[in-house]
């Protein structure tokens, strides 16, 4: 029985891992080095990748500042509509991202309530970095908020109690005890959000086709020139993501 269990565990694990890995390996190995080099020398491709990484990073930072307090609040308090609030936070994960983009367009577009308000201070969303930022934030924030919430739940509230008896107020207790002890889940959530934001296509393409993010660029090249032109951009994007996220995970694990 033990042997059968081990055998099945290995078989199933291997199956799902190969399912995830084979397409990635296939796409990386399907392009030649010379194609990659020429893609790397294409300024438009590099700019689209940098734009994706950069704007998704900003979106993640904004949600770190605003979403982590929300996650903490949800982890520590029970209230009548908590399930509804948590449901609303999860909506972007569930709805088609194109639909999310349309919803954002209605709010942040030229005739949307917030769009008009922001326009007065010179911020426009249609086909701008702000539009990309908004789309990335909307669809990927749940990854960070939910992960941070789970992280905070793991921090025993009695640790916070003890901290307070030792003279710390709620703010210092949060900074010195709660946050460091939930750090791993928050960083993991931030990585998930950042990565999800970089790869976001559906919502971004509705609100901002230009300037082109990497996924929009891949779609554009595929549509205009065919598969062979889309692959090098995809490969560079995958490799960039793997390098960035592996490095951060390794650093995070070093400071356990």
């Amino acid at each position: 029985m033990d042997r059968l269990f081990k055998f099945l565990t290995i078989i199933f694990s291997l199956g799902i891992f190969l399912f995830l890995a084979i397409p990635v390996v296939k796409i990386i190995t399907s392009t030649s080095v010379s194609n990659l080099v020429s893609a790397l020398s294409d300024k438009a491709i590099l700019q689209s990748i940098i734009l994706s990484v950069e704007v998704s990073f900003y979106a993640t930072v904004i949600v770190l500042v605003t979403g982590v307090p929300l996650a903490y609040f949800l982890s520590r308090h029970n209230f009548c509509c908590k399930a509804v609030v948590e449901g609303i936070i999860d909506i972007p994960v569930m709805v088609p991202h194109v639909a999310a983009g349309i919803a954002l367009l209605m709010v942040f577009g030229a005739s949307g309530e917030l769009g008009e308000a922001f326009k007065k201070i010179g911020v426009e969303f249609l086909d701008t970095k702000f539009g990309i930022l908004t789309a990335m934030m909307f669809v990927s924030a749940p990854f960070l908020i939910n992960s941070a919430k789970e992280g905070f739940k793991k921090v025993d509230v009695r640790l916070e109690n003890v901290s307070k008896t030792l003279g710390a107020n709620s703010f210092w207790t949060f900074v010195k005890i709660t946050l460091p002890n939930a750090r791993k889940d928050i960083i993991n959530g931030a990585l998930m959000m950042w990565g999800r934001g970089i790869g976001e296509f559906g919502a971004v393409v509705i609100i901002a086709y230009h300037p082109m993010t990497a996924p929009v660029m891949i779609y554009d090249r595929f549509n205009s020139f065919g598969l062979s032109y889309a692959v090098p951009v995809t490969v560079i994007m995958i490799i960039t993501s793997i390098v960035i996220f592996s490095a951060i995970r390794i650093i995070n694990n070093l400071f356990k």
Partner: protein
Amino acid sequence: MSFVEIKHLNTKLGAFELKDININIEKGEFLSVIGRSGSGKTVLLESIAGFHNTEGEIWLDGINIAKLPPQKRAIGMVYQDYMLFGNMNVKKNILYSLFFHKNENSKKMFDEVVSFLGISNILQRSVKNLSGGEKQKVAIARALLSNPKLLLLDEPLNAVDLTFKLSFMEFLKALHKRYGLTVLYVTHNFKEAVFFSDRSIVLLEGTIHQNSLTYELFERPNSKKVAEFLGFKNILPSKLINLKQHNFFSVKPQDITISDKVPNKEFTFKVELDNVFKIQNHYRIKVSLNDCTVSINSEKADCLESKNLYIGFDKKDIQEFD
């Protein structure tokens, strides 16, 4: 006025309620609260420390701290499972309070406490790699450095290895004496209360049932509930022996004589044998008396062959309560 005076303290936590708690603690006293698991011991400490919404007054050194936040109450709390900060090493845990209240004597106090607790060799270690006793010492040192006026100890011996329990109890007693601490100590273990405290409180189902000298608890429990909690055997209705002052009385199994003849005792009864089993060098005999079961410890069991069984005891051997 006592150093600590808790007046009409009420705390409601979901279905559980701490009701009308009144406690006085003198300066330097080591007061024990004894109660079963779930009786509200930890909630009581947490209410005093300021972690729950409460009603009532908590006077500490002449100030009503009931509405102050925990960080302004000057109360130290040590949980049974230590609650050490996993993101800091031992030294940083102990020094934590100094970040908020540094004083001139901090360094001296730190050296003194660390030396007294014998933990100077583990200061740089991660708190995750310590034994139960070491963790508890670090938690106590951390609380002491904050210079609390009242120290709340939540079953601190629970997680200490049985082998080291007695030495840890002696250590706690020495610590109390050395620093003149005022301590409120909760436990479910009567022996600990007897060891530490001249005075103890019995807390059952969120209510204080008895507040008296610790030895009195065992000599004169004031109710059937307290007697049951303290492990009294043979709690029987007083009408059985025609005593009307109290509702119940108890008699120890070893103070009851069992025989096939009516024993020469003040109170005697004919009983039915239920069962008997041998424990080491004596017999534990269970008999039925009306609707009650009575336990008897006896060195001999010869009489049990007889159809007529009698038990007897004297008035001097009974304890009465309501």
